[in-house]
Amino acid sequence: MTATLPPETGAAGASAEPPLAASRPALAQDWRRLVRMGAVGAVAQVFIALSNMPVRLDERVIVKPVLSLGYLTLLIVPFAAGHRVGHQIKREGMPQHAAGAHEVAGGAACGAVAGGGLSLLAVLLANFDLREPLVNWSPMLAELLAFGNATRFAVVIWLLIGAAVGALGGGLRLLGPRTRRAVVTMALAVGGAAVLEPLVVDLAEGMRLEALTDRLYARRGGINWTSALGLAAGSGILAVLGRGRIQQARAHIAELEGAQRTRTNGLLILATAAVLIVLPLFAGKLTNELLANVGLFVLLALGLNVVVGLAGILDLGYVAFFAVGSYSAAVLTAATSPRINPELPWLVALIVVVIITGLVGLFIGAPVIRMRGDYLAIVTLGFGEIIRLLFLSDWLSGWFGGSQGITKIPGAGIFGLTDVAGTDPRRVFYLVLAFCALAIYVSWRLERSRLGRAWMAVREDETVAEAMGINTVNVKLLAFVVGAVLGSFSGAIFSAKVGSVFPNSFLILVSIVILVVVIFGGMGNIVGVIAGSAVLIGVLGGPKQPGLLAEFSEFKLLIYGALLIWMMLARPEGLIPSVRRSRELHQQEMAQDAWLKGQVEDDNHDDGGSGPQATPAT
């Protein structure tokens, strides 16, 4: 009945902000919560320190000479804890307090507790040798923690650093939205410039702007502290002047409708395309290599997105299609492949590759899609490994070279015009770009097609989808095949780019990384998938491909894991959620609400009908 109608939107309190109550006194803290949070931070600090990140990343300088990536990893936790501890949960009818000394003091205390983890660690490092179980229990770590001084210094300094950084984190709450935006912009500008250093230097060389980067960056890496100040000031001023114009513009675009919307979107796409086409001309090997790697993963992630995001089939063995694409392209084009070597031109081979991978998709998909849920995921995991083991096996080594793999694979010849090989990453990137464009277009069309709708129906409720007349078996198989074909593009380019394929390039890890990219970016969303690849593959690096923060490569999985956990907790819809998906997730609670109410009604409905008792014989 009307009483069971859910509210229109979830954001009940978002409309009108109630006035703030006076700020609380500095010492009126919720100490228990503060210490709990600080203790969690302390554990995290110790964990980070013992993961060896600070020592290994100490070489990567962010701001010369004051801050290295290694030390940065030790500052993040107290900062976050100090900021978080001042968080007030918004509750209807409860006053919100203005931020003030309370937040700064709380942040400082909480940060000090978190920093205290390192103090404790420094003492332990000096007095015990636990190198046996903990490989990173090293004098180097002790030295780093003490800044080369005595242990006593380390104890005091980390309490102080923790308090200072925590106070900064808490103090962030004192800033008005505009100032906060400026501060965040400044931090992003400096951080971005540091992270993107290899890229910026590379581009500057291409554009003959070395003079600029020489001034910005120190000789052996890192931003000069003077330039960092300048950069911060400049970006801060821009942020203040800009006053959220970007957000306004975005809101404006979001409001556009119909033809205007289409035109704006078209312009945006054109502009992006233009940048992507022109940029590589000025970029050196490094940048192009990076872009090409990102592109290869965009292709893979788009393929997996069809399977997981649209059709809802959790495929943990997606690497199989990447492998089949790579290997079949290698066999068809390389003169050195063991059994058959037709040495087809790459484009011709690609057609065969697509057919082969499509068939493999059918072959693997046929038994798999009859399963549901967790069983399906586990079986796909198995298939992913089986394919790799087949390529590795002695049994098929006459075809695929076993562990020797296939080497000397020629580059991709396009109509005999150009030869795209790994030696020229720019051409590789253009090739990847072309296929990405194709894959994006295909995904975009599919999503809006009748087939796309059928996929979503199957994802939601397979039985009902069948009752609607959807041939669920065919539809799911088709998702598998489309995903396989998109993955095979990536594989075929990969083998031409690298020039060799080995079974070890296709570990389970690749499947996982692709899945993480899809989840991180926002499942079922094309832009999200691209953004996810750019951030994860471009910055952190792929399974074997170095990213911008090449120093991170050994901690990559750790960070993937941490990011994923944070993502699931804070932003389950992904980096750039599809409109649909965020609607799904944020209306979840209301759905449960509606369901509960439904249950209540269920109880009422029996009164006219029969009880559950057995029916008598007639």
Partner: protein, 249 residues
């Protein structure tokens, strides 16, 4: 059995001829005979686990009979897939409505018309659904799972109507609805029926179902134990005892 006498000369629209159906070893339907004629409103009664939903699944082709025949419009469709039968006008409103909860109302309706390609016809039927359920039109972009139970029932019916059915199979349409809504719901079914649609309804709410139905069957552990007009069924002593919950009146 009976009841064929007073029906129009044409054969039944949908028919089961001594159908047996199993889930693995479980014998869910035993020699079931049913016939639904064009323009009828008929109902299938039965207690829990008597095989009502199984009957609908078998009619729609989601479960294959182990023996016997399912006949649609004179054609034996045992080996035809669900999509074939949906395309020929058999549509189901599933038990508990079962909307695609995380899709919008609009997408749910579109999926109802999944097998159709006549754009004009679809648009016209959409208008008809809006006419029947103005409420649905207001909530087009809302996620179906967030609708109230009553609204979900409307969308479920709308989704089924979008398939342009000739016979509508409804699995316990009153389940999970408040008493007042149940009444309203049956009125709606009657209204749709009067507009020319054949309805085959599965119910536990025997009183209510028989009050609007022409004929009915009673199913018990997979077997048809009663097959009569609604009037006679309502008066049947055994049925009164067991389903209408009024043994001694």
């Amino acid at each position: 059995m009976s009841a064929d006498g007073g029906q129009p000369a044409a054969g039944p629209l949908l028919e089961m001829r001594s159908v047996n159906a199993h889930y693995g070893a479980v014998h869910a339907l035993r020699d079931v005979d049913l016939s639904i004629y064009e323009g009828e409103l008929v109902c299938l009664l039965g207690g829990n686990a008597s095989g009502k939903s199984t009957t609908l699944k078998t009619l729609l082709g989601m479960l294959k009979p182990t023996s016997g025949e399912v006949v649609l419009d004179g054609e034996v469709v045992n080996d035809r897939p669900t999509s074939y039968r949906v395309a020929r006008g058999v549509t189901m409103v599933p038990e508990n409505r079962r909307l695609f909860k995380r899709l919008s109302v609009r997408e749910n309706l579109d999926l109802g018309a999944y097998l159709r390609s006549d754009t004009d016809g679809i648009a016209a039927d959409l208008e008809r659904v809006f006419e029947l359920f103005p409420r649905v039109k207001e909530r087009l972009s809302q996620k179906a799972g967030t609708l109230s139970g009553g609204e979900q029932q409307m969308v479920a019916m709308g989704r089924a109507l979008m398939a342009k059915p000739r016979v509508l199979l409804m699995d316990e349409p009153s389940m999970g609805l408040a008493p007042a809504l149940v009444q309203q719901n049956f009125e709606l079914i009657q209204q749709i029926h009067e507009a020319g649609l054949t309805v085959f309804m599965v119910e536990q709410n025997a009183n209510m179902a028989l009050s609007i139905a022409d004929r009915g069957w009673v199913l018990q552990t997979g077997r048809v134990v009663l097959d009569d007009t609604a009037e006679n069924l309502l008066a049947h002593p055994d049925l009164r005892a067991s389903y209408l919950g009024q043994a001694d009146t």
